[in-house]
Amino acid sequence: MPFTTNVPWQKYGIIVELARRLETVSPQFGKTALQKMVYLLTTIYHVPCHYEHTIYTYGPYSAELAEDVEFVAAMGGVRLTEGNKGGYKISPAEHADWIADKAKDVLEKYRGEFAALVADFGSFNARELELRSTLIFLNKHDQTNTSNLAKELTELKPYFTTNEVSAVIDDLAEKRFLTLE
């Protein structure tokens, strides 16, 4: 079928679904939180979001996702408004249902995973999500040893205290989001 539209509705639907679910749960569901949530949804809950995150000082990031949220906003799937904590707040907009409907298969299939993500990470702010997603990235790609993981994180992000990093590692390990030796 040569004339099939190749709009990535599945990816757009995931953005809308996160905006819907996190609107009332997240301290401020903005662009940074979206980046980290999609990374966690892919890595921890194995939802095929089809974004590839690479690492920066500010944690896992996908340029493609950053662009897609703007496309979804232009289509009226989400609204981007200036938040009271700086940056932008993402919330569902007038065509959210239309976009979610086009991605309904994947949203229904992974309903449980979305719910688990929101329960486990939904209440964290962007900074807390950045710390957690970066630790998970480090653990997945580089380190499986607790002390090295903490050391590498503080080398990358010296503005997080050792105590804070250790507490988060313990918490993530307890929930089995980290694989440690």
């Binding site: 709009v7 920066y56 662009e67 703007e70 790609h141």
Partner: protein, 436 residues
């Protein structure tokens, strides 16, 4: 240390050292002379015959200028607050130059036009990108050139490090990861170079911005989470605006120009045919019509064996079937319908209906979508360090600039059919319109 100079049409003289010269002379890098930067854009803009070789030198040059500007202005902050050392910065600069120089060595023939022929990475479920092939070429083929040069004795930079820096696959760089923003971000040296270079060669003025102002105002700010991040000083707001507008205009006027996009489609068809023919009797390649994955030395060599020259030769020999003939005769498919740049829901519903009807009536052709193009352009933002440098707090440019606030991402969709079907397809379009 010997320094060589290469004359560049955009930046003037670009300096390289003996080590970089050795890498540039490697066949892996020399291949970039045979990879066109903008594929067959010269079918529309005849001057656009430049290649990835000159762009790669340009990216290395611009990234170095950015790095030097930042370390000159922010040296105290980098050392006192972020714990960088003089030697560490020197090493980072060297690594950054190598990564920028090599960032495009993994491009397929005709650059992004060939990316549709890359396999899916089983680890991510996404297609490989040229960056993965660049990393593979560095890892498997440039190890000796990178690691065994006397100038590396002070640094001990490994090919694996350069590959990982390109991939963004490890955080082992620690604080030095900061410089990855110069290689890949909304403010990176890649786009800073290609906008100027592409506009120069196309003969358009859309991609222009004041690069000297950008270089003098680039700085380190803090993201909303407190992480160091590449940003622009408050005094550089207008050059940041110009950079975003330059990319927006280059997208709409050059990269997503309707005829140019038709040729991207035809090139992909040509490559698929040529790959299938070559791979027909290769038992090691199980998925025919795609480039082999960047997972081994052998695969990477097979991949790099393909360049524009090879495709030209086969195409000239008549090996590329009907798509090859279309290109030779400049008889590309014609656009018979396009949505607005920012389509409404009604636009999207109509193009779906039209596509279905064209399919039903057996009209050949294809649908093109700006958001699926490599050159897609979402609404972009650049972080601005406010308070005239007193604090490192940043805000998005779009919150300060009504011009950027008003920009919308381009999501245009188009339908193309062969020249011979243009009239029939337009009649079908009229009838679908009448029913709506």
């Amino acid at each position: 240390m010997l320094v060589y100079e290469i004359r560049d049409p955009v930046h003037g003289f670009i300096q390289i050292n003996e080590w970089e010269r050795q890498i540039i002379n490697d066949p892996v890098f020399q291949r970039l002379r045979r990879i066109r930067q903008l594929a067959w854009t010269d079918m529309v803009y005849p001057g656009a015959c430049h290649n990835r070789f000159e762009h790669s030198l340009g990216v290395m040059h611009v990234a170095t200028k950015m790095f030097d500007s930042i370390t000159r202005k922010e040296g105290e902050y980098l050392k006192d607050e972020l714990n960088f050392s003089e030697h560490g910065l020197d090493r980072d600069r060297t690594l950054l130059r190598l990564a920028c120089l090599l960032h495009d060595v993994g491009h397929s023939p005709f650059s992004h036009a060939g990316e549709g022929l890359l396999l899916t990475n089983p680890d991510t479920g996404k297609s490989y990108k040229h960056e993965h092939y660049s990393a593979a070429a560095v890892r498997y083929l440039l190890k000796d050139s990178i690691e065994n040069n006397p100038l590396n004795e002070n640094y001990h930079i490994t090919a694996e490090e350069v590959a990982q820096f390109l991939e963004g696959s490890t955080a082992r760089f620690g604080r030095s990861l900061l410089w990855r923003d110069l290689l890949s971000s909304q403010l990176d040296a890649d786009r800073a170079d290609y906008l100027l270079r592409d506009s120069y060669h196309c003969g358009v003025t859309y991609g222009h911005y004041d690069i000297n102002r950008l270089l003098s105002t680039v700085t380190i700010g803090l993201s909303d989470t407190g992480s160091p991040i590449l940003s622009v000083e408050e005094g550089g707001i207008h050059v940041a605006e110009a950079l975003i507008l330059a990319r927006y205009q280059m997208f709409t006027q050059v990269y997503f120009q309707h005829t140019r996009r038709a040729y991207d489609h035809h090139i992909a068809d040509v490559l698929k045919i040529l790959l299938e023919k070559e791979q027909e009797h290769d038992p090691e390649i199980t998925i025919k019509g795609k480039f082999p994955p960047p997972t081994s030395t052998e695969n990477t060599l097979k991949y790099l064996h393909w360049d524009d020259w090879k495709v030209y030769g086969l195409l000239s020999d008549g090996q590329a079937g009907e798509p090859g003939e279309l290109i030779k005769r400049r008889n590309h498919y014609r656009c018979i319908h396009q949505t607005h740049e920012v389509p409404t829901k009604r636009d999207m519903d109509f193009i779906d209906l039209l596509g279905t009807e064209l399919d039903r009536q057996g009209i050949p052709g294809f649908m093109d979508n700006a958001t699926s193009s490599w050159y897609k352009t979402g609404k972009e933002d650049i972080l601005i360090r406010t308070n005239n440098g007193v604090s490192r707090k940043t805000v998005p440019l779009s919150s300060l600039s009504s011009l950027i606030q008003g920009l919308k991402p381009v999501m245009q969709q188009r339908i193309y059919v062969p020249q011979a079907y243009k009239r029939e397809a337009k009649l079908i379009k009229a009838s679908v319109k009448g029913e709506c």
